[in-house]
Symmetry: C2
Subunit: 143 residues, 2 copies
DNA sequence: GTGGCTGCAAATCATTTGCATATAC
DNA sequence: GTATATGCAAATGATTTGCAGCCAC
C-alpha cells in the first residue's frame, strides 16, 4: 500500500519515515493543493503525535527533491502540489479553490530576455471558476 | 511634479493625500518590485511621520483600483508593481532580483478549461539571472 | 463639519529556530 | 552506534486590527 511512496523516497535517497510516507500519500491522493494546516490537521487524526514542524520539514525535503512543488498563488500561505509535469493553476477568488490548468504556454522553457536561465515556471490565473459563475446566475432576479 | 500622480488618483476618485502620492511616485520611478518594508523605509527618510499601516492601506486601495498589482513570486512577502500592460516576472534565486519579462503567452486571456473566467494572469519564472551566471563563471577555476 | 485617512500599538497568522528525545539505517 | 528526523515551545516576520486624532473635501 505504501510501496509506491517508499520507492519514491528510496529513488531520491530520502530516509523513510512514516510521517514522510503519509504526507506524500496525502498529496498523491488529494490534488486540492492543500496548505500546511490542512495536511497537518488531516493527518493528525490518524497520527496524533504528528507535529506541524515535521510537516514543514517533510515538505521542504520533498520540494528540494522536486517530488512536490509549492505554490504562492494564494498570497498568504504556501500550497503544495505533487510534481506531475508542467501545468498551471487557476485560483477562484470566490470559493478559494485552486485548479490545475492544462494549457501549454510556449516560450516558457528556455533562456529569457538575453540570458536569464529558467529553472521553474508557474502560471497563475485568477478569476471566478465555472461553478461559482453558475451560482451567481442562479441568485440573480434577472439572468 | 506630482500632477501626474494627482491625476491618476483623481481619475479613480481616490482621495488625494501626500502619502498616497509619494507611494505612487515611488513605484512609478522604481521598477524593482519593492516590498512594503523597502517602500516604507525609503519614504520614511523624507517623511518621518509615515507609518507602515499607511503604506499597507495605500497599496491596498491602489490595488483595488488596478493602479498597482501585487506579486507573490518571492513567497515570503508581497512585492508591488505599477500596472503597465500584461507582462511577466523572473525571480533570480541567487540575488533576489525580480525582473520584468516581456514574452507573450498565448491562450492567457480567455476562459479556461470549460468556463473559468480569468481576470488576472501572472507568469512567474525562477532561475539564475544573466548577471549572476557571469559571476559564477568568473569564480570557477575552469570555465 | 464629517467621513475617510493616518499612525501607533497590540494582535494574528504562517513559518522558522533551538533543542531534547527518538528512530532509521 | 550515529547521524538524522521528530516534536515541542519559543521566536520571527509579514500583515491585520482597533482605535484616537487629523485632514481632504
Amino acid at each position: 500500500m505504501y510501496e509506491k511512496y517508499v520507492n519514491i523516497l528510496k529513488d531520491h535517497s530520502i530516509k523513510i519515515t512514516s510521517q514522510r510516507l503519509e504526507i506524500l500519500k496525502y498529496l498523491d491522493e488529494h490534488h486540492t493543493h492543500p496548505n500546511v494546516e490542512e495536511i497537518y490537521s488531516e493527518l493528525k487524526k490518524k497520527h496524533p503525535s504528528l507535529s506541524r514542524t515535521t510537516v514543514y520539514n517533510s515538505l521542504e525535503i520533498l520540494k528540494k527533491n522536486r517530488i512536490v512543488q509549492s505554490l504562492t498563488i494564494s498570497g498568504s500561505e504556501l500550497r503544495y502540489d505533487i510534481e506531475e509535469g508542467l501545468h498551471h493553476h487557476f485560483l477562484c477568488k470566490k470559493c478559494g479553490a485552486i485548479l490545475d490548468i492544462s494549457i501549454a504556454c510556449p516560450n516558457m522553457d528556455r533562456t529569457l530576455d538575453g540570458g536569464h536561465r529558467v529553472e521553474e515556471v508557474q502560471g497563475y490565473f485568477k478569476g471566478i471558476c465555472k461553478n461559482c459563475q453558475t451560482k451567481e446566475k442562479g441568485r440573480r432576479i434577472n439572468g
